[in-house]
Structures are given as structure tokens and as C-alpha cells.
Amino acid sequence: MHWASWAAFFNMGGYAFYVWFSFGITAFCMLWEVLALRKRSAQALRLTQLLAQE
Amino acid sequence: MQHLSGIALIYKKLLAQGLTCIRGDRVLFRNVGFTLENGSLIYVLGENGSGKSSLLRILSGLLIPESGELFWDGKLIKPGDENYHSDLLYIGHLNGLKDDLTAAENLLMSARLSGYKVTAQTVLNALREIGVGRCSNLPVRVLSQGQKRRVALARLWLTESPLWILDEPFAALDATSVDVLVTRLNQHMVNGGMAIITTHQDVVINAQFTQNLRLDS
């Protein structure tokens, strides 16, 4: 482990913005995709159930 | 304008004088004239290409005749006459529907364009009347030829215009729809409306006064 402190870790040798923005946007894209899919399948299921009741 | 009951309260008349139509170098008809009053109906008859559609387009103001005048309510009709347009419903060969919109959306928009304040429910009712209620949420593109025609004709249930000009409304319709349409036309006539119609089929509409306008040369 070569990080002197948490602060050093977060600072990323002065490249904090670039590194954390990269990881942030990747995490955001993936989370958004998964959440959007959960919403979509819930919606689809609700619709089919509505149809089934008719 | 708000109430969509069937009763046309406006008593006006359409007068045509000396209409002549020339397309290319053919004279389609010459010196056509008539008077159309409340509760009466004109059948425009003639074989294919005799100029029926052309006459109807002239009467609705889409086509400018070679010579002759039209008067509505005693006043000369000029091109783009908004006063006349608000009393007129014209349905031509073309349905005037957008393929990408649903049947309901199409009908809603065309009613609004004519100045009526309609709701989704009134539109749905109109579609149901002519038997395409089930298709109301389908894009018009996927409808069959007859269904498209019916969606276009559903406007007859949403309009308050006293004068209807219909170009072959019965083409492509099945027997049931023809009956529904005839009933609606009868009702319009009883309410004191006026109509000008072309058709190649034999249908009987009850009007107080019926004229046949034959265009064969």
C-alpha cells in the first residue's frame, strides 16, 4: 500500500478531477443502466398484468 | 362552437353560377350552376374523369375555376375565405391523415384545426360511432385501407359545419360502414344541413330535396 493518507488517495497526485470523474461517470452509467432496466421490466410486467385482468 | 350536438343552426345557402373548368386543354364542364339550401343534397354524377372531383374542389375553394362565381350566404367566396371555410367540411380522395400519428391524435388535431374544442373522449366516441374505436391508439400507418377511410370520415361526428362536400365517401368501405355513414348523412339532412356528394355506388340518402348534377359531356 503506497498511499500516505486518505487525503493523498483522494488527491490522486493532483489528478483528482480526471481520475474521479472517470470512475464517477463509469459508475453512474452502469447504475443508471441497471436502474432504468429494473424500471422498464416492472413497467412491462405491470402492463401485462393489466392486460391479463381484462 | 362548443356544443357538438347535431343541430346546424345556421341558415345559409350556396349559390354557384356559370362554373367552367378547363384542365390541360380539355373542357371538363361548362356553365354549371345550382342553388343549395338547408336540408338539401346534390349528387354529382359522371364517369371516371368527367370532372366530379374537380367540381368539388372548385366548390370548396381549392381550385380556381376558369370562369364563374360562388356565393355563400350571399357573399362572393374568395380564395382563402375564412368565413366560408368555417362553415365547410371537405373530405376528398385523400384522407388527410398523418401515418405516424394514431387515429385518435389525427382526429383530435383535425378537429382543433377546424376550430373545435374537443376532448379525447369526444374523439373516441366519434371513432366508435364509425366502428374503429378499437384502432384509436394504433398509428394510422398500420390500418387497413377501409379503416383509414373510416378514421377520416369520423370527422363527420365532430363537425358543426352546415355544408359537407364528400368525394366518394363510400369507396373501400364495407357494407356495415356504408350503412352507418348513410344514417349519419340522413341525420345531417334532417338537421337542416347541406351536402354535395359523389359516388359510383348505389346508396339512398333521404333529403328534403335532392338534385342530380350530371357531368358527362
Partner: protein, 222 residues
Amino acid sequence: MNNAWITVLRRDLLLALRRRSDVATTLFFFLIVSSLFPLGIGPEPAVLSSIAPGVLWVAALLAGMLSLTRLFATDYVDGSLEQMILSPQPLAFLVTAKILAHWIVCGLPVVLLAPVIGLQYALPNDALLVLVLALLLGTPALSLIGAIGAALTLGVRGSGLLIALLVLPLYIPVLIFGAGAVAASQHGMSAQAHLSLLAACSLLSIVLAPMATAAALRISVE
């Protein structure tokens, strides 16, 4: 605003934006068109920034031409044009709604995306600002003038040639002033004069184009 006018506007927007992917299509269209030039010309930033104004204006022009002709043509073919002419509203007035819809769908995205592409083309900041301003002032004129051409070419045969030759040259002043404005600010000069001329073009066409378009539409349905 007027009910029928809003209906026409809404209908055209609805048709254009039937699904969200269509909006994305417009945006990515500009991205693609603007990445074609570096591929043809090469990657040197200095050269790229000198052609940037031209590239963006060409993209705007192309987007307009690809879509505008189709807007009136479908109305003509399916009969909605007849119905619009027969509505109890002045046609020239309704036409403005159609043109506005077209501008929102095809003009506005160019304006909004232009700074991003400007960055890719290494444009300096003040030139970026002028670029956006110029596009904002000029693209309405493109839509308005295009509408005349689109209306005139409906259903017409031989004379269509003449019309294309008449309308397209009208685009040229807009393109020259528009690209000129950005070029001026790149060279450290004031873009004021160019921008005023652009605004004048748009104003002039807003006064004349709807009437001309309406007249052309009436002729086309005869």
C-alpha cells in the same frame, strides 16, 4: 396563442419527436457531419479551426434540406395540406407554425451543439460565442427560405428546376454573413456588422416568406 396555430405546431413537433431517439438522431447527425471534415482534411487544429464556421453552417444547411422538403411533401401526399388550406385560419399564419416546428427540430439542435463541435475544432472562446449568436440569428432564415422552396417544388414538374435555382441562391447571403461573423471574431475583428446583416436577413424573410409559402402551397394543390 391561437388554438389552430398551436395545434399545427404541436402536431409537427409530435411527428418529429414521435420517439426520443429521433431527437438524438438530429444531434448525432451534426456530430457525424462535422467529424467527416477532419477525416477528409487532416487533424491539424489550426486548419480545422479555420474551417469550423463553414462546417457548422453547412451542417445546418444540410439538416434543413434533408428534412424540410419532406415536411411539406408528406402533407401534400396524404391530403393534410388540403385540410390546412381549408381551415378557417389564414394559411400564411399556420405556415409560420410549421416553419417554427421545423426550426425547433432542425435549427435549434445545431445552435445548441455548435459549441461542442467548436471545441473539437479548437475554436477560441469568443469565437464560440459569436458562432452561437450567428446561428441563432441565421438559422430561422434558412428554415423560412427553405419553406418557400419546399412549397414551390410540390407536385411541380419542369418549373421545379427554375425554382431550385431561385431559392438556393437566397441561402448564400445567410451562409456568407454567418460564416463571416465567426471568421471576423477569429481574426480579432468585430462581428457586429455581420450579425446585424444576419438579423436583417431573418427579419426580411419572416415578413415575406410565410406569405410566399402560402401562395405557393395554394398553387400546388390546384
